[in-house]
Every structure is written in C-alpha cells, then in structure tokens.
C-alpha cells in the first residue's frame, strides 16, 4: 500500500509538471496580452518597452522555468489586468466555487443514487418512467439555457430567489462562506441546481444501469434463492457491487463540477474561479489562466488518487490483479 501510494505520488508530480507545461505553452499563443493591458492611446514604443519588461521576449524555456518554479511555491505572479497577486485572487474566489461544487455534488449524489436504485428496482413503475424521462430532458438541455430559464422563472416571474451573486457572505479567517446568511443560502439554490442537474442525471442513469446488471448476476439470484430479504439483497449486495463504476464516474464528475462551474458561474455571476477564468480568457490574462488550469489539474490528480484508493477498498479482486 505504501509503495503504491508513493508510486502514485511520483506519477502525480510528473502529471502536474506536464500540465503546467501544457498550460503555460498553450497560453503563450492566446492573443497579445499587451493590447489588453494598455489603453487605446498607448504608443508603440511604450508597448515594446512593456513587452520587454514583462519578459515576454525571453526564450520559451526561460519563461516556463520561471513560471514552474514560482508556481511550485504558490506564486503565479500578478494578474495583468488587476495587478494583484493571482494567488490572492484565487484564494478569494476558491470558497465560492468550492461551496457551489460541494452543494451540487451532495445534491447529485443524494438525489441521484436513490433515484438510480429506485428506477432499477421498479423498472416499469410510473415514477421510474417519469424520472427517466426527466433525466433525459435534463441531459438534453444545455446548462446555460437551464440557468437562464431558472432565472427567468424563479427570479423574474415569481421573484422568489436571487438571480445573481452570492448574497451576503461571512468571513471566517481566509474563508468566506455563504452558508451562514439567509441571502447566502437563497443565492445558492438556483446555481447549485443548475450545476447539479447534469451530474445528477448521469449518476442516476449509471447507478440504474449497473444495478440492473448486478441484479441479473448469479450471485444475486443465489442470494435471493437463499431466502435473504429483498432489502438486504438490494442494498447489501447489489448496491455494493455497483459502486466500483459509480465511484469512478462520481469521482471524475466531482472534478468536472468545478470545471462546469465556469458556465454556471458566468450565467449567475457567481464570483468564483470559473468566472475569473472566463473573464481572464477574454482579457488574455495569462497568469490567471495558467494558475487556474494548474489548480484544476491539481484537484483532478487529487481526486484520481482518492478514487484509486477507494477502488482498492471496494473491489478486492483488483488487489490481486495489481500484483501480476
């Protein structure tokens, strides 16, 4: 187990380095940052001078090593546009995104898994059919359209819920939370539903498909034949066996929640990292873009490691295969 973890850690570091390289090299090609930093009246010489000063004329390798070295200690430099350290900006934005992703993940798991189990067990039930139909509609509509429709209905027509932002937030040291105020919680509702909807349907369909497969396997039939109550069979044996792929996908989806938050955040003007990133793309704010990508990659690598470890815990068969 220890050597497995060590190997994983080493691989993760290589992954992070590669991602940093990709992130950095790719963004060298996006637009010309100078045009976004200065106003319309700035002269050519001033532009050239600025380019030189920012090190944009240095060789690629030099620029990258400078970037990677600083990134390793959490220093992503200053935002071109805001002239504030990027790490500060990220620290300011991260709570917003993580709270949103967290609530959405909980929502999609808490609703998705039971719905998946239910629809698998009662395949022909009316409720199952409705849930399946709704899930299809859910995956068939683009997130941004869902968000706008929710705003239109709950914000503009009914005027029940806030349509943008996080509401009032409470500062707890370095963390700002929207969980502690009424407006903060109300503001979370529409964005988290928007963000959760797609993951929810995915998890539900996946759990259902896996449940159906497992229910047909011999050992379930055998368990039933042994006279075990349905409840025990379904939840102790069947559900447990569906968990391998569910963990994989859910784990991976957690990461995409953070990434998908880009869309939700831009529709709801949610002051998180995704909004910052999309704004940075428009402004060609390279330090922010690079930092965001590296950070997202970091989340993914972390989640992947956790998923792998859970794999070990859940499916004993994989443990033996690793040795071969």
């Amino acid at each position: 187990m220890v050597s497995f973890l060590f190997k994983r850690l080493l691989q993760s570091i290589i992954v992070m380095f590669t991602v940093a390289l990709i992130a950095f090299s790719m963004f060298r090609f996006v637009g010309d940052p100078i045009n976004n930093m200065v106003g319309q009246d700035t002269s050519q010489e001033e532009r050239d001078e600025l380019r030189e000063k920012l090190g944009l004329n240095d060789p690629f390798v030099v620029q990258f090593l400078r970037f990677a070295g600083n990134a390793a200690v959490g220093d992503f430099g200053y935002s071109y546009k805001y002239k504030i350290p990027v790490s500060e900006m990220i620290a300011e934005r991260m709570p917003a995104t993580l709270e949103l992703a967290f609530i959405s993940a909980i929502l999609s798991l808490v609703v998705g898994i039971p719905l998946g189990v239910y629809t698998a067990l009662r395949r022909e039930g009316i409720l199952s059919k409705i849930a399946m139909a709704m899930s299809l509609v859910g995956v068939s509509l683009p997130t941004f359209l869902i968000g706008i429709l929710l705003i239109l209905f709950f914000g503009v027509v009914l005027r029940w819920l806030p349509t943008f932002g996080r509401g009032d937030v409470v500062e707890l040291g370095f963390w700002t939370t929207g969980f502690l105020t009424k407006s903060g919680i109300l503001s979370l509702i529409l964005p988290s539903i928007t963000l959760a909807l797609f993951q929810l349907t995915l998890i539900m369909r996946l759990v259902r498909a896996e449940m159906l497969e497992v229910l047909r396997t011999d050992f379930i039939k055998f368990a039933k034949a042994r006279g075990l109550p349905d409840r025990a069979v379904h939840f102790k044996h069947a559900l447990k066996n569906t968990l391998v792929p569910v963990i994989t996908i859910t784990g991976l989806q957690l990461g995409s929640l953070i990434a998908f938050a880009i869309i939700t955040e831009s529709v709801f003007q949610w002051p998180g990292m995704g909004l910052m990133f999309i704004q940075a793309i428009a402004d060609v704010d390279i330090p922010i873009m690079a930092a965001y990508l590296v950070l997202i990659a970091f989340f993914f690598v972390l989640i992947n490691m956790i998923v792998d470890i859970l794999y070990y815990a859940v499916d004993p068969r994989l443990r033996t295969s690793d040795g071969s």
Partner: protein
Amino acid sequence: MKLRHGILAAAAAATFAFAAPVVKAETFKFAFQGNLSSLDPHSLNETFLLGSLNNVYEGLVLYDDNLAVIPALAVSWEIIEPTKWKFNLRKGVKFHNGNDFTAADVKFSWERAIGEGSDQIARASKIKSIEIVDDYTVILETPAPNPILTADLVNIYIMDKEWSEENKTTSATSVSADNSGNYANLNENGTGPFKVDEHKADVKTIFSKYDGYWGTMPSNVTRVEFTPIKEAATRVAALISGELDLVYPVPVQDWKRLDEAKGVKPLAGPEARTIFLGMDQGRDELLHSNIKGKNPFKDIRVRQAFAHALNLDAIKKKVMRGAATPAGLMVAPQINGFIPELNTPYAYDPAKSKELLAAAGYPDGFEVTMDCPNDRYVNDEKICQAVASMLAKVGVKIDLLAQTKSKYFGKVLKDGGYDTSFYLLGWTPGTIDAENVLSSLIACKKVEANAGLFNLGNYCNPKVDALTAKIGSETDQAKRNAMIKEAFTMVKDEVGYLPLHQQPLSWGVRDGVGVNQRADNVLDFRYVVIK
C-alpha cells in the same frame, strides 16, 4: 432626449424637496457589463474606470450633467499667454484622509500621470510644465496653444502627494512586475464625494459618502454597491427581480420588456459615440480580398457605391429597434464642432451603387473580409451581418470576421500596419470636441507625431491634415468651427468613412431612482437620487 430631461427635472425637484438635511441611509446598487480593474486613477485609460473613479477622485475641472466643463478643484482660470493657463485652486478642500489639497498635489499628480507606468501619458502630455505660484495658484504651460485644454483636465485626477509618498505609490499602477502591488491599486485617497470602503476586483466595490466633501450635490445616496455582471440576460433579470437599482447597458431589444415589467423602466438617450465603417485606402493591394494587384477602395466610386448600398434606416429600425440616430458625420450632435447640415446620411440607392461599381470596373462586385467586434458596441455583430447582407445585394461578398474585442483590437491595431481591409469601429471623442476625431481618425497616420493613430484604413488628405493642425491651436471659436466644417466637408465628399449611426445609451433603472444619463455613458453618483 425628452426622457433625459424628464429625469433631470425629477432629480432637481427631488433635490429641492429633500433640501433639508435628511440623514437617511440610502443604498444605491448598480451593475455594469465590465469591471473596475483598479482604483488607481492613472492605471488605465478606459471610460468606465475613469467615470467610476471620478466619484472618488477629481480633476481641476469636472463635467456637469450635460458634459459642460465646470470648476472643481480649480475655482477659476484664465489664459495669460496663448500657451499659459493660470488656475486658481479651491481652498479648504480635504482629501479623504483629512490632508489639505494644495498646488503641490496638482504638480505631483500631473507628474505621476505623465510618468512611468501611467496609461494617461497621452492626456498628460497636453501639458508641458506646471509652475507652482503659491499654495493655491498654478500656471500650466502647453506645448502649443490649446483651446480645449480643460476638457483634458477633466480626466487627470488629483492625488494627495503626502499620502502617495507615504505609501510609496508615486508612480502609477502598471503591469510591470517591480511595480505590482501598488498601494493606490487597491486603496484610494481622493477629494470626491464618495470613498471606497471595499474593493474586490471583478466581484464587488462598495462606496460610501464622504462627509467632508467640499461641494454640494443633488444625490442623497450614502452607500453605493457596484457589481460587474457580464451576461446581459443576468443583468436584466437582476434589475427586474428588484435586486438592483440600475443596470447598464441593457440590450435594446429588452426595452419593451422593461417597459412592461413592474417597477422598472428603460432609460435611453443618444450616446456621443458614432459607429462607422472604415476602408483600407492606404495599401496598394488589399490584405483580405479576391482583387489582386490593386485596391478597389482607392477608387472613390467604390467607396460611393458602398455608401449608397447601406440602408441605415433598416439598421436603425431592425437591428437597433429604432434606438439609433443614423449619421452622415463622424461626430455626434453633443460634440463641439458638430455640423447639422453635414449629418444627412448618404442616400440609400442600390441601383446607383451597382452602376458605380460597374463604372469602377467591378460589374460583378468583389470579395472582401470585414472585421467586426462582437462585444464592444451595441449590437455590433448584428450591424455587421446586416451590412454584409446589404452589400451582397449589390454584388460585394463580405466574409465577416466577428471576434471578441481583445482579439478584434489585437488584429486591427496590429503592430506595424493595421491588419484590416474593411472594419466597424465606434468613437467618442474624449474631449467632446471634433478636433479629437480629426487628429485620431482622419489625419494621415504618423505614429511619431501621435497623428491618425486610429485611422485604421489610412484615409489621407494633406489638405485636411493642414486644417487639423490649425484647428488644434485656433482659439477663435467661429474661425475654428469654420475650419472644422471645411475639413469634414472634404472627408464627406471623398467618402473617407461610412458613418452609420450614433448608438443609444441604454440603461435600466428601478422606479423611484433618479439618475443623470451622461452622453458619454458615464454614471455620476453626484446625480443619483433615491426617492
């Protein structure tokens, strides 16, 4: 215009009605599509930043609600020599931290604005030197006689010398690494009617009223909350749902919706910005066209053909929902030097357009790429699509290249020659004077002389250039206007540009909120009244 005056009257009435010191906390919440990137008044030459910071910082002079220059930190001024202006400064003005405002602050601020890292260099360069006569008198020297100097002074904001030195922010916040983390980027110490309580870039900025303000103002607002909201739909929704008091800009097609919705209304007026099309008349061969070896736009008949192919009324009616003013001139009516008789657009006449193209040797038209921003002006991309469709009907095939503003400006303003053949651009002269349009858009491009820097198609007429130079230093208003007229007549006769329209200002406000909608699209908190 009618609407605007109505609001103003209401605002004025409100001022008198509440003239007694009513100490009631009034919070004003508004959203704009862009963000406030910095609190440093010399960091970025951008309308929204300068407009917002004008509530916090002030220059020697100020625009009033109708863009007329009024005294601010200077109480009076006189031209003592053609290139020397004497300003008498206001006494008893205190910065937000309690420091006194004096002549030293004026000189210091100008030096900061023209110094390293500043994005106000072009503006500050209109001043050659500042001489401190005494604590409340300064003499400004200009490089050449400049009748409209005060218009430039509006946006050169005065900072506190002591405070800046204490906090090591004697040069402007710039992007260079050694100067990042500039104190003035996130903190302010101005003389304006509002202080900044909290500033989270791109998230929220909170202003509160400065009780020691030297002036009086109609506003009864004690706290202002600004949130940037990029998506138009979210912005409009937030207004309708009652979360905000003002949002701008509002898409013109949503006016109807705001009219129908309870408790909110659209607020519209003509903006001083002219939207126009430009053609590359400088190169011998167009960069992006199927015509090789020659440049069709060099032929006046082709330019005329383009002019007659455009149906400006259709664009106004359909694309702009009636909310634009078709234009024949490169400056708007609010601009000093506007000539009403030149503002009639070229006639819409596709048949004549085809004849002209045939006469010029293009009976079957030709192909050309059009550059267009898609998030800069009101319905910019849709205007370009409509233009493409109109030109198609006379045989000219347009390949439309619509991009976000950063990519668009990166291309059309590309170093070493502007990379465009045909483009859409909008322009508000920052000085509210026609001279700015002549020297930036119409003068032959000479980078070293700061001339024609935004003349992307390099329209070039030495006669117009000569007039522009004279207009720059002519102090006799009548003579000056006559020359402006002469210059614009030449440009129009030669079809140097294709003006389309003045775009509308399009705001949405909650009922019971009075604001002044300034023609340069600036929101001045001084005129915000909440009933």
